[in-house]
Amino acid sequence: MEGGFFYRQKNLMRSTNKIPLQRASNAALASLLNLTLLPVLGFAYLIFTFKKTDPDGIDRYHTILGIKINIIAATVLLVVSGLMIFFGGFDSPWTWVYVISYFTIVHTVFIVFAIWALVRAWSGEKLRSSFTKT
């Protein structure tokens, strides 16, 4: 796992410690991967890494964020799509009109959100930061 691929160490503003930052980056990447290429595996990594994180650290923050995003995404995508199929019926074209359009657009929204979370993790920040840049 290489989270901060393009991350430049000298721009580091927050955590002076490298390891939590690395863990936060990895967690955010795992979250993004779970949403895209490696479903389940990414989530397993997040659960596995959770214990190692510092309760007050940025790594814990991004691990929890990743877990939350993915639980919400799983619910919103799989459960709602499942309900659509259940109530719409497998053989109705309208079921697939709704399921495919819905799944594609909502899935993408989650991916874009996870990308933003990842770049925040790279810079050692939470989603919302209290300080502004000059």
Partner: protein, 458 residues
């Protein structure tokens, strides 16, 4: 504006926006024709409206790319444009040629246009997106070569940056691949095969180089992030664009009589095509997050982020949706393709040109950024156009899925026109979304005229 000759870009951008309006008006007309088939028939048949719609898009994007290059290159190269006169001359040549072509489409039957322009000497007309009379195509080549010469001389005699070199590669590729438009063999498969060398290698090849370099330029300017970082991203993005996109051309060679191996190659490589767009989103978010300053032109930052996200959505996600051969077997040539085409062109190319215009136009008008009120207008137009384009895409996707099911997938497939009647509700909703898009475009144009307290003069 650091160099006076950057100002020629203004002409190009004004023409681009004007043609953009024409494109959308004809889009709205076609939207009505999808609902009420005889609208404007036989004066403006659907195929004529479509030609105008797509050709105006291509022409105004080319104006946008050229304008962007004329603005960006002197500043990057740290010298005046090689020949501002040639840039202005070619502007008028291209505008007149473009206008005459569009008028030709509208005023005489297409077959008559072919006859007047002596298409029989070198038949190139009547193929999708390449409908221009042969003489117009020759004009496009002349304009493109003069433009490349002008830009090339400026770049090669000035400071060379990664951005200008990538841009030059992209523009040269654009000119070279257009030459395939003159090859029109009788053999239908050969014709189709090499037609994609223009169309695919433009929009999923060299145009991505142009887009990435324009985006990188604006991001350097508005975020102040170190050039080294941005150039590294730029290289890796366009590397992925070419690695996936060149053999990815194969996703067009599934069902046109070409060998079966294209189903594997086309599926695998085009499945990678979302990667460069995904990386563009990551890149844009990352450098905006790491910005060293808050640029007063918030609208430009919004467009830059917007183009990255929407290109990923339209070109990446909606492309992937129907690119695998087993899926494409059912979706090929349905409204799914139309859905993807609309959002991909808007997200990647329309928005990147609007990003460049948004960043540079205020500077050419003497301010670092537009006044606050004008920016509010511009951002409203961003949301109106972008959200309505998302809905246009969703409605066409819905229409496409239903079409695929009824006409292709079903045990008892319905005929084309019977199916079309069942899609009416989607076409109505699409037209409503299209009208909202037009409203957004009007707001966009108004944003150039809105007065307010000006930000710092430069």
């Amino acid at each position: 504006m650091k160099y006076e000759s950057q100002g020629v870009a203004k002409l190009y951008f004004i023409a681009a926006i004007g043609l953009f309006v024409g494109q959308i008006l004809f889009g709205v007309i076609m939207g009505v024709q999808y609902i009420s088939g005889d609208f404007l028939f036989p004066e403006i048949p659907f195929n004529v409206a479509r030609m105008v719609h797509t050709n105006l898009l291509i022409v105004w994007l080319l104006f946008g790319f050229m304008g962007s290059a004329y603005y960006l290159v002197p500043e990057e190269s740290e010298r005046e444009l090689f020949s501002p006169f040639l840039a202005k001359l070619m502007f008028w040549v291209f505008l007149v040629a473009g206008a005459l072509t569009i008028l030709g489409y509208l005023l005489v039957p297409y077959a008559t246009l072919a006859e007047i322009t002596m298409n029989d000497l070198l038949p190139t007309m009547g193929r999708e997106f390449l409908e221009q009379p042969t003489i117009t195509k020759i004009g496009i080549v002349i304009v493109a070569l003069s433009f490349l010469f002008n830009i090339g001389m400026t770049i090669l005699t000035g400071r060379k940056t990664v951005i200008t070199l990538v841009l030059l590669t992209g523009l040269a590729g654009l000119a070279v691949f257009f030459l395939f438009s003159f090859y029109n063999p009788d053999n239908l498969i050969l014709d189709k095969y090499f037609w994609w060398f223009v169309v695919h290698l433009w929009v999923e090849g060299v145009w991505e180089l142009i887009m990435a370099s324009l985006l990188a330029y604006v991001l350097i300017k508005v975020t102040g992030v170190d050039r080294e970082v941005i150039e590294k991203w730029l290289y890796i993005i366009i590397a992925m664009a070419l690695i996936s996109g060149l053999v990815g051309t194969g996703h067009h060679f599934f069902w046109i009589g070409t060998p079966d191996y294209w189903q594997w190659l086309g599926s695998i490589f085009s499945a990678l095509e979302p990667i460069p767009f995904f990386m563009m989103t990551l890149f844009a978010f990352n450098v905006v997050n790491k910005r060293r300053r808050d640029h007063p032109n918030k609208a430009a930052v919004l467009w830059a982020l917007g183009t990255a996200v929407m290109a990923f959505l339209g070109a990446g996600v909606w492309g992937f949706l129907h690119t695998l051969a087993p899926v494409n077997y059912y979706t090929h040539g349905t409204q799914i393709t139309a859905a993807h085409g609309h959002m991909a062109f808007y997200g990647a190319y329309v928005m990147v040109v609007l990003t460049m215009i948004s960043y540079s136009m205020p500077i050419m008008r003497g301010h670092k950024a537009s006044n606050e009120r004008a920016q509010v207008f511009e951002m409203w137009s961003f949301w109106l156009m972008t959200v309505s384009m998302v809905f246009i895409t969703l409605f066409l996707t819905g229409a496409g899925i239903l079409q695929v099911y009824l006409q292709r997938y079903s045990e008892a497939p319905l005929g084309f026109m019977v199916t079309q009647d069942k899609l009416a509700i989607f076409y109505i909703m699409r037209e409503v979304a299209g009208l909202v898009f037009l409203a957004g475009l009007i707001v966009y144009i108004l944003s150039f005229f809105v007065k307010g307290k000006e930000v710092e003069v430069i």
